[in-house]
Protein backbone atom coordinates (compact mmCIF):
# COMPACT_ATOMS: atom_id res chain seq x y z
CA UNK A 1 0.00 0.00 0.00
CA UNK A 2 0.92 3.63 -0.24
CA UNK A 3 3.34 2.95 -3.06
CA UNK A 4 2.10 5.62 -5.41
CA UNK A 5 3.80 8.62 -3.90
CA UNK A 6 6.87 6.63 -3.00
CA UNK A 7 7.37 5.83 -6.62
CA UNK A 8 9.28 8.68 -8.11
CA UNK A 9 10.24 10.12 -4.76
CA UNK A 10 12.80 7.45 -4.16
CA UNK A 11 14.33 8.16 -7.51
CA UNK A 12 14.95 11.82 -6.76
CA UNK A 13 15.80 11.65 -3.10
CA UNK A 14 19.47 11.24 -2.29
CA UNK A 15 19.89 7.70 -1.05
CA UNK A 16 21.82 6.79 2.06
CA UNK A 17 25.16 8.61 1.95
CA UNK A 18 27.16 5.43 2.25
CA UNK A 19 24.98 3.62 -0.27
CA UNK A 20 26.25 6.08 -2.87
CA UNK A 21 29.74 4.69 -2.35
CA UNK A 22 28.73 1.21 -3.47
CA UNK A 23 29.86 0.70 -7.06
CA UNK A 24 29.62 -2.44 -9.09
CA UNK A 25 32.61 -3.94 -10.92
CA UNK A 26 33.77 -1.84 -13.84
CA UNK A 27 33.00 -4.00 -16.85
CA UNK A 28 30.73 -4.05 -19.86
CA UNK A 29 27.11 -3.82 -18.69
CA UNK A 30 27.80 -2.08 -15.38
CA UNK A 31 25.70 1.02 -16.03
CA UNK A 32 22.65 -0.98 -17.06
CA UNK A 33 23.02 -3.32 -14.09
CA UNK A 34 23.26 -0.39 -11.70
CA UNK A 35 20.21 1.27 -13.20
CA UNK A 36 18.02 -1.84 -13.20
CA UNK A 37 18.99 -3.19 -9.79
CA UNK A 38 19.06 0.07 -7.83
CA UNK A 39 15.44 0.88 -8.64
CA UNK A 40 14.31 -1.20 -5.66
CA UNK A 41 17.39 -2.02 -3.60
CA UNK A 42 20.92 -0.86 -2.86
CA UNK A 43 23.64 -2.33 -5.06
CA UNK A 44 25.45 -3.96 -2.13
CA UNK A 45 23.06 -6.93 -2.42
CA UNK A 46 25.12 -8.01 -5.43
CA UNK A 47 28.67 -8.08 -3.96
CA UNK A 48 27.11 -9.46 -0.75
CA UNK A 49 26.14 -12.52 -2.79
CA UNK A 50 29.33 -12.70 -4.86
CA UNK A 51 30.56 -16.18 -5.68
CA UNK A 52 27.35 -17.96 -4.68
CA UNK A 53 25.29 -18.14 -7.90
CA UNK A 54 26.27 -19.63 -11.25
CA UNK A 55 24.74 -18.41 -14.53
CA UNK A 56 21.55 -20.39 -13.96
CA UNK A 57 21.30 -18.96 -10.44
CA UNK A 58 21.74 -15.35 -11.55
CA UNK A 59 19.23 -15.89 -14.34
CA UNK A 60 16.70 -17.22 -11.81
CA UNK A 61 17.41 -14.26 -9.54
CA UNK A 62 16.85 -11.70 -12.32
CA UNK A 63 13.67 -13.49 -13.44
CA UNK A 64 12.38 -13.49 -9.85
CA UNK A 65 12.91 -9.73 -9.70
CA UNK A 66 10.88 -9.33 -12.90
CA UNK A 67 8.13 -11.90 -12.42
CA UNK A 68 7.66 -11.82 -8.66
CA UNK A 69 8.85 -8.36 -7.63
CA UNK A 70 7.64 -6.57 -10.74
CA UNK A 71 10.94 -5.00 -11.83
CA UNK A 72 10.38 -3.29 -15.21
CA UNK A 73 13.45 -4.80 -16.89
CA UNK A 74 12.84 -5.32 -20.63
CA UNK A 75 13.06 -8.99 -21.62
CA UNK A 76 15.62 -8.10 -24.28
CA UNK A 77 18.04 -6.80 -21.66
CA UNK A 78 17.96 -9.88 -19.46
CA UNK A 79 20.71 -11.88 -21.23
CA UNK A 80 23.20 -8.99 -21.03
CA UNK A 81 22.35 -8.39 -17.39
CA UNK A 82 22.79 -12.08 -16.55
CA UNK A 83 26.12 -12.04 -18.45
CA UNK A 84 27.37 -9.10 -16.42
CA UNK A 85 26.33 -10.62 -13.08
CA UNK A 86 27.76 -14.03 -13.92
CA UNK A 87 31.11 -12.69 -15.17
CA UNK A 88 31.65 -10.34 -12.25
CA UNK A 89 29.81 -11.99 -9.36
CA UNK A 90 29.33 -15.59 -10.46
CA UNK A 91 30.39 -18.77 -8.77
CA UNK A 92 33.89 -19.71 -9.92
Amino acid sequence: MKWVALLGLLAVVPAVASEEQVRLQEAEGRTRAEAHCSMCHSLDYIPLNAGILDRKGWEASVNKMIKVMGAPIPAGEVPALVDYLTRNYGKQ
Binding site: H41, P47, N49
Partner: protein
Protein backbone atom coordinates in the same frame (compact mmCIF):
# COMPACT_ATOMS: atom_id res chain seq x y z
CA UNK B 1 0.28 7.20 1.56
CA UNK B 2 0.12 9.11 4.81
CA UNK B 3 1.95 12.29 5.62
CA UNK B 4 4.53 10.64 7.85
CA UNK B 5 5.58 8.21 5.16
CA UNK B 6 6.17 11.13 2.88
CA UNK B 7 8.21 12.96 5.48
CA UNK B 8 10.41 10.00 6.14
CA UNK B 9 10.89 9.20 2.49
CA UNK B 10 11.89 12.71 1.64
CA UNK B 11 14.05 12.76 4.74
CA UNK B 12 16.35 9.96 3.63
CA UNK B 13 19.12 12.50 3.63
CA UNK B 14 19.00 12.27 7.42
CA UNK B 15 21.52 9.50 7.03
CA UNK B 16 23.95 12.05 5.71
CA UNK B 17 23.52 14.32 8.70
CA UNK B 18 24.04 11.44 11.09
CA UNK B 19 27.42 10.81 9.51
CA UNK B 20 28.37 7.22 8.79
CA UNK B 21 30.80 5.67 11.22
CA UNK B 22 32.67 3.27 8.97
CA UNK B 23 34.87 0.56 10.27
CA UNK B 24 35.96 -2.81 9.05
CA UNK B 25 34.14 -5.49 10.97
CA UNK B 26 36.39 -7.42 13.34
CA UNK B 27 35.82 -11.04 14.24
CA UNK B 28 33.47 -12.07 11.46
CA UNK B 29 32.70 -15.79 11.41
CA UNK B 30 35.14 -17.80 9.32
CA UNK B 31 32.26 -19.56 7.60
CA UNK B 32 30.96 -16.41 5.88
CA UNK B 33 31.54 -16.10 2.16
CA UNK B 34 34.09 -13.67 0.78
CA UNK B 35 31.45 -11.36 -0.60
CA UNK B 36 29.74 -11.11 2.76
CA UNK B 37 32.96 -10.38 4.59
CA UNK B 38 34.17 -7.85 2.03
CA UNK B 39 30.94 -5.85 1.91
CA UNK B 40 30.32 -5.68 5.68
CA UNK B 41 30.99 -2.39 7.48
CA UNK B 42 30.10 -1.10 10.91
CA UNK B 43 27.67 1.74 10.47
CA UNK B 44 24.97 3.46 12.51
CA UNK B 45 21.39 4.05 11.38
CA UNK B 46 19.82 7.12 13.04
CA UNK B 47 19.05 6.21 16.65
CA UNK B 48 21.14 3.06 16.54
CA UNK B 49 24.73 2.36 17.52
CA UNK B 50 27.10 1.04 14.86
CA UNK B 51 25.89 -2.36 13.65
CA UNK B 52 27.11 -4.70 10.93
CA UNK B 53 25.70 -3.44 7.63
CA UNK B 54 24.59 -6.22 5.29
CA UNK B 55 22.53 -3.99 2.98
CA UNK B 56 21.58 -0.30 2.95
CA UNK B 57 18.24 -0.28 1.15
CA UNK B 58 16.16 -1.87 2.44
CA UNK B 59 18.21 -1.66 5.62
CA UNK B 60 19.54 -4.94 6.95
CA UNK B 61 21.87 -4.46 9.91
CA UNK B 62 23.20 -7.15 12.22
CA UNK B 63 24.01 -7.02 15.94
CA UNK B 64 27.74 -7.54 16.71
CA UNK B 65 28.73 -10.57 18.78
CA UNK B 66 29.88 -8.69 21.90
CA UNK B 67 26.35 -7.37 22.49
CA UNK B 68 25.21 -10.92 23.26
CA UNK B 69 27.30 -10.98 26.45
CA UNK B 70 24.12 -9.50 27.94
CA UNK B 71 20.97 -11.59 28.00
CA UNK B 72 18.79 -8.61 27.10
CA UNK B 73 19.66 -6.86 23.83
CA UNK B 74 19.63 -3.03 24.10
CA UNK B 75 17.24 -1.26 21.71
CA UNK B 76 20.01 0.71 19.99
CA UNK B 77 21.90 -2.53 19.27
CA UNK B 78 18.89 -4.56 18.13
CA UNK B 79 19.15 -5.92 14.57
CA UNK B 80 17.20 -4.36 11.69
CA UNK B 81 15.61 -6.38 8.89
CA UNK B 82 13.31 -5.15 6.08
CA UNK B 83 12.10 -6.60 2.79
CA UNK B 84 10.63 -3.38 1.42
CA UNK B 85 12.36 -0.01 1.18
CA UNK B 86 9.42 2.27 2.00
CA UNK B 87 9.77 2.53 5.77
CA UNK B 88 7.31 4.72 7.66
CA UNK B 89 7.85 6.71 10.81
CA UNK B 90 4.24 6.95 11.93
CA UNK B 91 3.15 9.60 14.40
CA UNK B 92 1.97 7.52 17.40
CA UNK B 93 -0.82 10.04 18.08
CA UNK B 94 -2.19 9.61 14.54
CA UNK B 95 -1.65 5.86 14.24
CA UNK B 96 -4.75 3.68 13.81
CA UNK B 97 -5.12 -0.08 13.81
CA UNK B 98 -8.01 -1.53 11.84
CA UNK B 99 -9.47 -4.92 12.75
CA UNK B 100 -11.94 -6.81 10.60
CA UNK B 101 -12.03 -9.46 7.88
CA UNK B 102 -14.50 -11.96 6.38
CA UNK B 103 -14.54 -14.03 9.57
CA UNK B 104 -14.87 -11.08 11.94
CA UNK B 105 -18.28 -10.38 13.42
CA UNK B 106 -17.55 -6.65 13.43
CA UNK B 107 -14.88 -4.12 12.50
CA UNK B 108 -12.95 -1.82 14.80
CA UNK B 109 -10.46 1.01 14.56
CA UNK B 110 -8.20 1.54 17.55
CA UNK B 111 -5.71 4.22 18.55
CA UNK B 112 -2.56 3.68 20.57
CA UNK B 113 -4.33 5.27 23.55
CA UNK B 114 -7.12 2.68 23.14
CA UNK B 115 -4.56 -0.11 23.38
CA UNK B 116 -2.96 1.51 26.41
CA UNK B 117 -6.18 2.04 28.32
CA UNK B 118 -8.70 -0.54 27.14
CA UNK B 119 -6.81 -3.79 27.57
CA UNK B 120 -4.71 -5.59 30.16
CA UNK B 121 -1.08 -4.47 29.87
CA UNK B 122 1.49 -7.28 29.76
CA UNK B 123 5.27 -7.61 29.36
CA UNK B 124 7.24 -10.65 28.23
CA UNK B 125 10.91 -11.30 27.39
CA UNK B 126 11.22 -13.08 24.05
CA UNK B 127 13.79 -13.78 21.36
CA UNK B 128 13.15 -12.14 18.00
CA UNK B 129 15.17 -14.21 15.53
CA UNK B 130 15.30 -13.83 11.77
CA UNK B 131 14.54 -17.13 10.03
CA UNK B 132 17.69 -16.59 7.98
CA UNK B 133 20.02 -15.92 10.90
CA UNK B 134 23.37 -17.64 10.10
CA UNK B 135 22.34 -18.08 6.45
CA UNK B 136 25.80 -16.77 5.53
CA UNK B 137 27.33 -19.83 7.20
CA UNK B 138 25.42 -22.29 5.03
CA UNK B 139 27.60 -24.76 3.19
CA UNK B 140 27.34 -24.60 0.28
CA UNK B 141 26.44 -20.89 0.47
CA UNK B 142 22.92 -19.92 -0.56
CA UNK B 143 21.72 -16.58 -1.95
CA UNK B 144 20.03 -14.01 0.26
CA UNK B 145 21.10 -11.63 3.00
CA UNK B 146 24.32 -13.20 4.27
CA UNK B 147 23.65 -13.05 7.99
CA UNK B 148 26.23 -14.12 10.52
CA UNK B 149 25.26 -14.68 14.16
CA UNK B 150 23.48 -11.44 14.92
CA UNK B 151 20.12 -11.32 13.12
CA UNK B 152 18.48 -11.84 16.49
CA UNK B 153 17.86 -10.14 19.81
CA UNK B 154 16.08 -10.62 23.10
CA UNK B 155 13.89 -7.84 24.53
CA UNK B 156 11.17 -7.32 27.08
CA UNK B 157 8.11 -6.65 24.90
CA UNK B 158 5.32 -4.64 26.46
CA UNK B 159 1.80 -4.28 25.11
CA UNK B 160 -1.49 -6.15 24.94
CA UNK B 161 -2.55 -9.68 24.08
CA UNK B 162 -3.72 -10.15 20.50
CA UNK B 163 -6.46 -12.48 21.71
CA UNK B 164 -7.98 -9.70 23.83
CA UNK B 165 -8.29 -7.57 20.68
CA UNK B 166 -9.63 -10.43 18.60
CA UNK B 167 -12.32 -11.07 21.21
CA UNK B 168 -13.67 -7.56 20.48
CA UNK B 169 -14.35 -8.41 16.83
CA UNK B 170 -16.05 -11.74 17.55
CA UNK B 171 -14.30 -14.21 15.20
CA UNK B 172 -16.72 -16.62 13.52
CA UNK B 173 -16.51 -20.40 13.87
CA UNK B 174 -15.08 -20.67 10.33
CA UNK B 175 -12.14 -18.33 11.08
CA UNK B 176 -8.97 -20.00 9.76
CA UNK B 177 -6.08 -17.52 9.64
CA UNK B 178 -5.39 -14.04 10.98
CA UNK B 179 -3.65 -11.66 8.55
CA UNK B 180 -1.24 -8.89 9.52
CA UNK B 181 -0.22 -5.90 7.41
CA UNK B 182 2.17 -3.11 8.33
CA UNK B 183 2.69 0.40 6.98
CA UNK B 184 5.99 -0.43 5.25
CA UNK B 185 5.59 -0.45 1.50
CA UNK B 186 7.32 -1.51 -1.71
CA UNK B 187 8.90 0.88 -4.19
CA UNK B 188 6.93 -0.58 -7.11
CA UNK B 189 3.21 -1.17 -7.25
CA UNK B 190 3.71 -4.71 -8.50
CA UNK B 191 6.01 -5.80 -5.66
CA UNK B 192 4.04 -7.97 -3.22
CA UNK B 193 3.21 -6.05 -0.05
CA UNK B 194 4.54 -7.65 3.11
CA UNK B 195 1.47 -9.35 4.58
CA UNK B 196 1.75 -12.41 6.80
CA UNK B 197 -0.73 -14.74 8.48
CA UNK B 198 -0.89 -16.91 11.57
CA UNK B 199 -3.12 -19.90 12.20
CA UNK B 200 -5.99 -18.88 14.45
CA UNK B 201 -4.71 -21.03 17.34
CA UNK B 202 -1.37 -19.20 17.37
CA UNK B 203 -3.05 -15.80 17.13
CA UNK B 204 -5.12 -16.75 20.19
CA UNK B 205 -2.09 -17.92 22.19
CA UNK B 206 -1.86 -15.94 25.42
CA UNK B 207 1.76 -15.01 24.62
CA UNK B 208 1.11 -13.50 21.18
CA UNK B 209 1.20 -9.74 21.71
CA UNK B 210 0.86 -6.38 20.06
CA UNK B 211 3.88 -4.60 21.52
CA UNK B 212 4.41 -0.87 21.78
CA UNK B 213 7.31 -0.95 24.21
CA UNK B 214 10.65 -2.69 24.00
CA UNK B 215 12.77 -2.85 27.15
CA UNK B 216 10.51 -0.22 28.67
CA UNK B 217 10.91 2.33 25.85
CA UNK B 218 8.72 3.04 22.83
CA UNK B 219 9.67 0.80 19.89
CA UNK B 220 12.50 2.24 17.79
CA UNK B 221 11.39 3.14 14.27
CA UNK B 222 13.68 0.45 12.82
CA UNK B 223 12.05 -2.18 15.00
CA UNK B 224 8.45 -1.44 14.03
CA UNK B 225 7.18 1.74 15.74
CA UNK B 226 4.63 2.37 17.02
CA UNK B 227 3.20 -1.16 17.27
CA UNK B 228 4.47 -4.52 16.11
CA UNK B 229 3.32 -8.09 16.38
CA UNK B 230 5.29 -10.26 18.83
CA UNK B 231 4.99 -14.01 18.32
CA UNK B 232 7.11 -15.58 21.07
CA UNK B 233 8.69 -18.84 19.98
CA UNK B 234 8.17 -18.30 16.26
CA UNK B 235 10.72 -16.75 13.89
CA UNK B 236 10.66 -13.02 13.17
CA UNK B 237 9.01 -13.31 9.74
CA UNK B 238 5.68 -13.27 11.61
CA UNK B 239 6.57 -10.30 13.85
CA UNK B 240 5.02 -7.74 11.48
CA UNK B 241 6.31 -4.20 12.11
CA UNK B 242 4.41 -0.87 11.90
CA UNK B 243 1.25 -2.96 12.23
CA UNK B 244 -1.86 -1.17 10.95
CA UNK B 245 -4.27 -3.90 9.85
CA UNK B 246 -5.47 -7.21 11.30
CA UNK B 247 -8.01 -9.34 9.42
CA UNK B 248 -9.63 -12.59 10.45
CA UNK B 249 -10.19 -14.71 7.33
CA UNK B 250 -11.79 -18.00 6.31
CA UNK B 251 -9.17 -18.86 3.66
CA UNK B 252 -5.41 -19.39 3.75
CA UNK B 253 -3.39 -16.34 2.66
CA UNK B 254 -1.79 -17.12 -0.71
CA UNK B 255 0.75 -14.40 -1.35
CA UNK B 256 4.48 -14.56 -2.14
CA UNK B 257 5.52 -14.12 1.51
CA UNK B 258 3.46 -17.12 2.63
CA UNK B 259 3.31 -19.45 -0.37
CA UNK B 260 6.87 -19.06 -1.71
CA UNK B 261 9.08 -17.45 0.92
CA UNK B 262 9.83 -18.64 4.43
CA UNK B 263 9.20 -22.27 3.69
CA UNK B 264 11.19 -25.30 4.80
CA UNK B 265 11.25 -28.86 3.50
CA UNK B 266 8.77 -31.00 5.41
CA UNK B 267 10.10 -33.42 7.98
CA UNK B 268 13.72 -32.28 8.06
CA UNK B 269 13.75 -30.24 11.25
CA UNK B 270 12.79 -31.08 14.84
CA UNK B 271 9.80 -28.73 14.97
CA UNK B 272 6.57 -29.36 16.84
CA UNK B 273 4.28 -26.51 15.75
CA UNK B 274 2.59 -26.98 12.38
CA UNK B 275 0.81 -24.44 10.21
CA UNK B 276 -1.50 -26.93 8.52
CA UNK B 277 -3.53 -24.58 6.31
CA UNK B 278 -0.30 -23.50 4.60
CA UNK B 279 1.35 -26.91 4.13
CA UNK B 280 1.93 -28.52 0.74
CA UNK B 281 3.10 -32.02 -0.15
CA UNK B 282 6.74 -31.05 0.19
CA UNK B 283 7.10 -27.80 2.11
CA UNK B 284 5.71 -26.09 5.16
CA UNK B 285 6.00 -22.55 6.55
CA UNK B 286 8.77 -22.07 9.07
CA UNK B 287 7.26 -22.00 12.56
CA UNK B 288 9.08 -22.16 15.88
CA UNK B 289 12.72 -21.39 16.56
CA UNK B 290 14.77 -24.55 16.99
CA UNK B 291 17.13 -25.01 19.93
CA UNK B 292 20.40 -23.15 19.53
CA UNK B 293 23.26 -21.43 21.35
CA UNK B 294 25.93 -18.81 20.75
CA UNK B 295 29.37 -18.63 22.33
CA UNK B 296 30.44 -15.13 23.34
CA UNK B 297 33.66 -16.46 24.90
CA UNK B 298 36.13 -17.60 23.75
CA UNK B 299 36.40 -15.70 20.47
CA UNK B 300 37.61 -17.31 17.25
CA UNK B 301 41.40 -17.19 17.16
CA UNK B 302 41.75 -16.13 20.80
CA UNK B 303 45.12 -16.90 22.41
CA UNK B 304 45.73 -17.74 26.05
CA UNK B 305 48.85 -18.50 28.09
CA UNK B 306 49.24 -21.91 29.75
CA UNK B 307 47.62 -21.74 33.16
CA UNK B 308 45.16 -19.01 32.16
CA UNK B 309 41.59 -20.01 32.97
CA UNK B 310 39.44 -20.50 29.88
CA UNK B 311 36.00 -18.91 30.15
CA UNK B 312 33.35 -20.69 28.08
CA UNK B 313 30.30 -18.47 28.09
CA UNK B 314 27.28 -17.75 25.94
CA UNK B 315 23.52 -17.79 25.52
CA UNK B 316 21.03 -20.50 24.59
CA UNK B 317 17.43 -20.32 23.41
CA UNK B 318 14.65 -22.26 21.70
CA UNK B 319 11.03 -21.89 20.59
CA UNK B 320 9.57 -21.70 24.07
CA UNK B 321 9.93 -25.15 25.60
CA UNK B 322 12.82 -23.69 27.57
CA UNK B 323 16.49 -24.60 27.82
CA UNK B 324 17.12 -27.79 29.81
CA UNK B 325 20.91 -27.94 29.62
CA UNK B 326 24.01 -26.75 27.79
CA UNK B 327 26.96 -29.11 27.43
CA UNK B 328 30.40 -27.73 26.65
CA UNK B 329 33.56 -29.30 25.33
CA UNK B 330 37.14 -28.05 25.01
CA UNK B 331 38.43 -30.97 22.96
CA UNK B 332 36.32 -30.83 19.84
CA UNK B 333 33.46 -32.87 21.22
CA UNK B 334 35.29 -35.88 22.69
CA UNK B 335 34.40 -35.00 26.27
CA UNK B 336 31.43 -32.93 27.38
CA UNK B 337 30.54 -31.36 30.69
CA UNK B 338 27.43 -29.56 31.84
CA UNK B 339 27.64 -25.77 32.00
CA UNK B 340 26.10 -23.67 34.74
CA UNK B 341 22.85 -22.02 33.61
CA UNK B 342 21.88 -18.48 34.57
CA UNK B 343 18.40 -17.99 36.05
CA UNK B 344 15.64 -18.23 33.44
CA UNK B 345 14.09 -14.85 32.57
CA UNK B 346 11.26 -16.65 30.78
CA UNK B 347 10.94 -19.66 28.52
CA UNK B 348 11.05 -17.53 25.34
CA UNK B 349 14.18 -15.63 26.44
CA UNK B 350 17.91 -16.05 25.92
CA UNK B 351 19.41 -17.97 28.83
CA UNK B 352 23.03 -17.47 29.84
CA UNK B 353 25.46 -20.33 30.47
CA UNK B 354 29.09 -20.44 31.60
CA UNK B 355 31.85 -22.73 32.69
CA UNK B 356 35.44 -21.93 33.60
CA UNK B 357 38.16 -24.40 32.70
CA UNK B 358 41.29 -23.85 34.78
CA UNK B 359 44.70 -24.05 33.13
CA UNK B 360 44.44 -26.13 29.97
CA UNK B 361 47.56 -27.62 28.42
CA UNK B 362 49.43 -25.83 25.62
CA UNK B 363 48.16 -26.36 22.09
CA UNK B 364 44.96 -25.90 20.15
CA UNK B 365 41.65 -26.50 21.88
CA UNK B 366 38.36 -26.62 20.03
CA UNK B 367 35.55 -25.25 22.18
CA UNK B 368 31.95 -26.29 21.54
CA UNK B 369 28.58 -25.71 23.22
CA UNK B 370 25.46 -27.77 22.62
CA UNK B 371 22.11 -26.73 24.04
CA UNK B 372 19.15 -29.04 24.65
CA UNK B 373 15.59 -28.01 25.36
CA UNK B 374 12.78 -29.39 27.48
CA UNK B 375 11.22 -31.04 24.44
CA UNK B 376 14.29 -33.28 24.30
CA UNK B 377 15.81 -31.83 21.13
CA UNK B 378 19.42 -30.73 20.82
CA UNK B 379 21.59 -28.83 18.35
CA UNK B 380 22.84 -30.62 15.27
CA UNK B 381 26.53 -31.33 14.62
CA UNK B 382 26.01 -31.38 10.85
CA UNK B 383 24.14 -28.71 8.91
CA UNK B 384 20.60 -29.61 7.86
CA UNK B 385 20.90 -28.03 4.43
CA UNK B 386 17.90 -26.27 2.90
CA UNK B 387 17.80 -23.91 -0.09
CA UNK B 388 16.94 -20.76 1.89
CA UNK B 389 19.46 -21.36 4.67
CA UNK B 390 16.92 -21.38 7.51
CA UNK B 391 17.18 -22.98 10.95
CA UNK B 392 20.99 -23.14 11.12
CA UNK B 393 21.65 -24.53 14.60
CA UNK B 394 24.95 -26.26 13.94
CA UNK B 395 27.12 -26.56 17.08
CA UNK B 396 29.90 -23.96 16.82
CA UNK B 397 33.59 -24.98 16.84
CA UNK B 398 35.80 -22.20 18.20
CA UNK B 399 39.56 -22.84 18.10
CA UNK B 400 41.64 -21.38 20.94
CA UNK B 401 45.43 -21.52 21.02
CA UNK B 402 47.20 -21.84 24.33
CA UNK B 403 50.80 -20.85 23.73
Amino acid sequence: MDRRTFLWTSGLGAFVAAGPSFAEVPGQPAGLGEGARASAVLEALPGKRALIKRSYRPPNFETPLEVFRDTITPNDAFFVRYHLAGIPDPDPAQWRLSLGGAAAGKSLSLSLADLQSGFEQVELPAVCLCSGNRRGLSSPHVAGVQWGYGAMGNARWGGVRLRDLLAKVAPAAEAMEVLFDGADSPVLERTPDYVKSLPLWKALDENTLLAFTMNGEPLPRWNGAPVRLVVPGWTATYWVKHLDSIRVETQPLKNFWMASAYRIPKGKFPVVDRFLTQETETTTPITEIIVNSLLTSPLEGQRLAPGDPLLVEGIAWDGGFGIASVDVSTDGGVHWSRAELAPELGRFSFRGFRQVFPGLSAGRHVVMARASNRAGTTQTLDLIFNPAGYHNNVVQRIAVDIV
